[in-house]
């Protein structure tokens, strides 16, 4: 059963994408909904049925197909580079080709299954198909507001759906060779989708994304090279079992490659550039699923790193990015940019936790991966709604959005709250994070500082949206197309429900997924009470905070009676005050310094890889 589901989850999206693309205009919307539902049910079923790891060996011909596809991709990149006259891309493509050729040349077949479905993979499928499916659905509505031809719109949505298959496969690929292909496929989809709008900015951003991700590919290939050099099989499971130094070296390269995909500094620019693309792109590729490759990779190899200087380097790198990303975000003004940087920042935290690799830390990391995915997807979708329906892109234009788009603002606030306030998943993740990182030196300082800065960031933006309500602020729910409201509300409800059920959620969703990597997690629950070894989160606190946060929107809807309305104090003058906000201009040198520090960390990781390999 699992095998079939796996195949469906991997290949199904491509098929469905074809159907969606080819479907008549009228049918394509429902078809997207249907595909999303199908995929999600499959993922849910797989998750429910999953008992232990299932290995799936692919038929021999697939190897040839993989190789073919690999070269096709690299060839395509080369072509893009030549056509766009982008030397770096050409160079990297050639490098990739050479490295790949060499790897393939030295590769010897191993009797291992290419795909291993473990609980972690099954859990991540839920995220990919759940969030991704909703985004695809949302994209149907979103693309109607684009100037594209219907055919092209359908193509766009189809690519999104097909992409889900890639991600599904990626999270269960055991063969690094296969993983490389999938990695390159995500690069390709990034490139295509970022460049979707075909204007100058899109072109530049997409090319930037391409070369940076190619560099990631090169690093992956280097990692593979190390493994091949040692004559070891090109599989994660094999890699994890070998205890020698070269394995660490290989892991370092693999992780470094993944970190680029996770847009960790100094490679943050490409994710920022993704802003120019239609919003669903940002939502699906760059916040909720694709960038998660970075923490996923660290999480996967975490056990191998455990206790090595490499782990320390990666952890501090992650911690640094957490704080630095939040700081840089403070200075930003476009909502999407802010969201992008806070994604980078939080990815840093996940990377850090994955590198710490204690059961608690891994649980925290996975919690963050999941809930951040849900929250960020929702936030990006709302950003899209604000952009499309209210023509507000920068935070300035959102002054007083509350009176125009209460529902969107409310959901944005919910999204922000879910990352900064108890009892939401992401915050609980952070809480667990501190409790986990407290055991390992000073990492928690990063967590403490970073979470405060993130809170500052979010409240600042939230405040701005609330800034200028109309004179008599009654909240009337605005009319927005059903696609938008249903998709975002579903995510919102997920956040709200998971918040009150956070204890069971953690115990039944997160812990089993982490178990195989770091057995002996001490997270438990009693009813709604969440219990960690170092402290409890009793149910009444969860419920209390939840009620307060839920009372708020209810309160907003209920007008007070028998209470006078008065105008704001303005020193006795009858002037309308305008909303204000601070901006925190991060001086250029700080941004540069942060990039440099990031680069040093990054270089250190790669260097450590090299040293460990040689040693």
């Amino acid at each position: 059963m699992i095998e079939n589901l796996t195949l469906f989850l991997i290949l199904g999206p491509a098929l469905l994408a074809l159907v969606v693309y080819g479907a008549p205009r009228r049918l394509y919307g429902p078809l997207v909904v249907l595909s999303s539902a199908l995929l999600f049910s499959a993922a849910l079923l797989a998750w429910l049925l999953h008992a232990q790891s299932v290995a799936i060996a692919l038929p021999a011909w697939t190897h040839a197909a993989i190789v073919l596809l690999d070269f096709a991709l690299i060839g395509y990149f080369l072509w893009v580079g030549v056509r766009q006259n982008h030397r770096l891309i050409v160079l990297l493509a050639l490098l990739q080709g050479a490295l790949l050729g060499w790897v393939l040349y030295a590769l010897s077949a191993a009797p291992l299954a290419e795909i291993v479905v473990d609980k972690l993979g099954a859990t991540l499928w839920l995220l990919v198909t759940g969030v991704g499916g909703l985004i695809a659905w949302y994209a149907v509505g979103y693309m109607r507001h684009e100037s594209d031809s219907p055919r092209r719109q359908q193509a766009f949505v189809a690519i999104l759906i097909a992409f889900l298959g890639v991600m599904n496969a990626l999270f269960v690929a055991d063969s690094i060779e296969l993983f490389f292909l999938l990695f390159e496929l995500t690069t390709l989809s990034s490139f295509i989708l970022i460049g979707w709008r075909r204007d100058a900015a899109s072109r530049l951003s997409s090319l930037q994304a391409l070369w940076m991700n190619q560099l990631g590919g090169v690093l992956l290939l280097l990692g593979m090279g190390v493994i091949i050099w040692q004559g070891a099989p090109l599989f994660f499971s094999a890699l994890l079992e070998s205890q020698s130094g070269w394995a660490l070296g290989a892991a370092a390269f693999l992780i470094a490659g993944a970190l680029i995909k996770g847009a960790q500094m100094p490679f943050d620019r490409w994710l920022l550039g993704a802003m120019v693309a239609p919003t669903p792109v940002s939502a699906i590729l760059h916040s909720s699923t694709m960038v998660k490759i970075a923490p996923f990779m660290v999480l996967k190899l975490g056990v191998l790193l455990h206790g090595t200087p490499l782990a320390v380097a990666v952890a501090y790198f992650g911690g640094f990015v957490f704080v630095a990303g939040a700081f840089v975000a403070l200075a930003r003004n476009h909502l999407k940019e802010i969201l992008a940087y806070s994604t980078i920042s939080l990815l840093g935290l996940m990377v850090m936790l994955s590198a710490v690799a204690t059961p608690l830390a891994l649980s925290a990391a996975l919690t963050l991966i999941l809930f951040h995915g849900v929250a960020k997807a929702m936030l990006f979708m709302e950003a899209g709604v604000l952009e499309k329906l209210h023509h507000a892109k920068s935070v300035d234009e959102m002054g007083g959005m509350l009176s125009r788009a209460p529902m969107s603002v409310f959901l944005v606030l919910l999204g922000f709250a879910s990352i900064t306030l108890p009892p939401f998943g992401a915050l609980v993740g952070k809480w667990v994070a501190i409790e986990a990182s407290a055991q390992s030196a000073f990492l928690f300082l990063f967590v403490a500082l970073g979470s405060v800065v993130i809170a500052l960031l979010y409240f600042k933006v939230a405040g701005y949206m609330l800034g200028k309500p109309g004179s008599q602020m009654g909240l009337t729910i605005e009319r927005i197309p059903r696609v938008f409201s249903v998709t975002t509300l579903l995510l919102g409800v997920t956040l709200a429900l998971s918040a009150i059920l956070i204890a069971p959620t953690l115990v039944y969703l997160i812990v089993p997924a982490i178990e195989p990597f770091a057995p002996g997690s001490e997270i438990a629950h009693k009813g709604l009470t969440l219990m960690l070894p170092s402290g409890d989160l009793p149910f009444w606190q969860i419920v209390g905070a939840w009620l307060l946060l839920l009372l708020l929107p209810l309160a907003g809807l209920k007008r007070m009676r028998r209470v006078d309305r008065v105008r704001e104090y303005s020193g006795g003058e009858r002037i309308e005050m305008q909303p204000v906000t601070f901006y925190f201009p991060t001086p250029r040198w700080i941004v540069r310094a942060m990039a440099i520090i990031g680069a040093i960390f990054f270089g250190l990781i790669v260097l450590l890889g090299g040293v460990l390999w040689v040693a």
């Binding site: 003004n333 920068s394 935070v395 300035d396 303005s570 020193g571 006795g572 003058e573 002037i575 005050m577 305008q578 204000v580 906000t581 601070f582 901006y583 925190f584 201009p585």
Partner: protein, 361 residues
């Protein structure tokens, strides 16, 4: 990104004693431009003095231009009028006028200092300064019978004489004040937080001070050696051996110190006046009606106060013109505000010691 945010201050505001409206455009709280409206207190005193009140009432009316420097207004009006009516003012009366002026300076400066402390969030220092200020207020009551509006200077002299008992009481009050002055200075200066808050804040350069025509403590704190007490001979300040105090930095810190030093100086002057008070009548008769024109300048607590009077032989002035020190300084305010943090504005404003009721009359 909208970088400029407008922060209005006033017309009613906790940091303001008087209605005044400042509209700051700020970047992150840093002032980039300011617009002001200082006409809230315009009552039309000049008009009333030219239409309703006869010249003998004018000193009492113009005293109500401002309660902080009431005595300077009435003295200036009196000094100007005395030039164009027949009257002999005794030396004693002139000395007593100086005495009242110096008291007024002390109380005004102390109020300003207290207000600076309050505006910078140092409530205890505000209380402390106000507590010490009570001594001056009491002295003023002993001197004139009222705490604020002295109604002391009048045409031909002063409204009441002073006996030796009164002089003793005054000496005791200023003596007590003198003894606490150094402690007060310590609290303004020997404190890291006041230094952080005041040093280099709200500064004006010497050049600007000249260019913008500043007067009074603001000018002196920036290094301009200007003091009407030496620049005019309406009042016999020279007999007291007077030398103006000047500071260099021109910032809030310097202005605080300058005011404290001027308080000490005024105390000294008061002691000298009480010591060498000449004998004579405190009040002499005024004959005739104002005819011709005259001007008078005196050093008010905030700087140069100018009165111009013109009579045509009638009981009512043909023209009375007041130019107050704050009025002269207003242009400099803008220059001082620019580039400051909004959070320092109340303190800066307090230290500039603006007086809108003087300005708008």
């Amino acid at each position: 990104m909208i970088k400029q945010l407008h922060i209005p201050l006033g017309s009613q505001h906790a940091a303001l004693l008087e209605p005044l409206r400042l509209d700051f455009s700020t970047e992150n709280e840093r002032i980039v431009s300011v617009r002001s409206d200082m006409g809230y207190v315009h009552r039309g005193v000049e008009h009333a003095c030219m239409n309703r009140f006869d010249f003998k009432k004018v000193p009492f009316v113009v005293a109500r231009v401002c309660g902080l420097c009431a005595i300077t207004h009435s003295t200036a009006a009196v000094l100007a009028t005395e030039q164009i009516v027949e009257c002999m003012v005794s030396e004693r009366a002139q000395w007593l006028r100086m005495l009242a002026l110096e008291f007024d300076r002390i109380h005004s400066h102390m109020l300003c200092l207290a207000h600076v402390a309050e505006s910078s969030g140092y409530e205890a220092l505000f209380m402390h300064t106000m507590m010490e200020r009570e001594r001056v207020m009491e002295a003023q009551e002993i001197l004139s019978g009222n705490r604020v509006q002295f109604d002391y200077a009048t045409l031909g002299g002063v409204t009441r004489d002073m006996d030796s008992q009164c002089a003793q009481a005054l000496l005791a009050k200023v003596g007590a004040l003198k003894s606490v002055l150094s402690g007060l200075r310590d609290r303004f200066e020997a404190n890291w937080s006041t230094q952080m808050r005041f040093k280099g804040v709200g500064a004006i350069t010497l050049e600007e001070a000249y260019r913008l025509g500043t007067v009074g403590p603001i000018a002196r704190a920036a290094g301009v050696r200007t003091d009407i007490r030496i620049e005019s001979s309406h009042l016999p300040y020279r007999a007291l051996g007077f030398e103006p105090i000047v500071a260099l930095e021109g910032d809030l810190y310097a202005r605080n110190r300058l005011r404290l030093e001027e308080i000490a100086q005024s105390i000294e002057l008061i002691e000298r006046i009480l010591e060498g008070l000449p004998e004579g009548a405190h009040l002499s008769k005024v004959r005739g009606r104002p005819k011709g024109e005259a001007m008078a300048r005196i050093e008010a607590p905030r700087g140069e106060l100018f009165y111009y009077v013109r009579g045509n032989g009638g009981a009512i002035f043909e023209r009375l013109r007041i130019r107050t020190p704050t009025y002269a300084n207003l242009k400099a305010f803008e220059a001082i505000f620019l580039g400051q943090e909004y959070s320092s504005i109340p303190a800066i404003l307090a230290s500039l010691d603006p007086c809108m009721s003087c300005t708008a009359k």
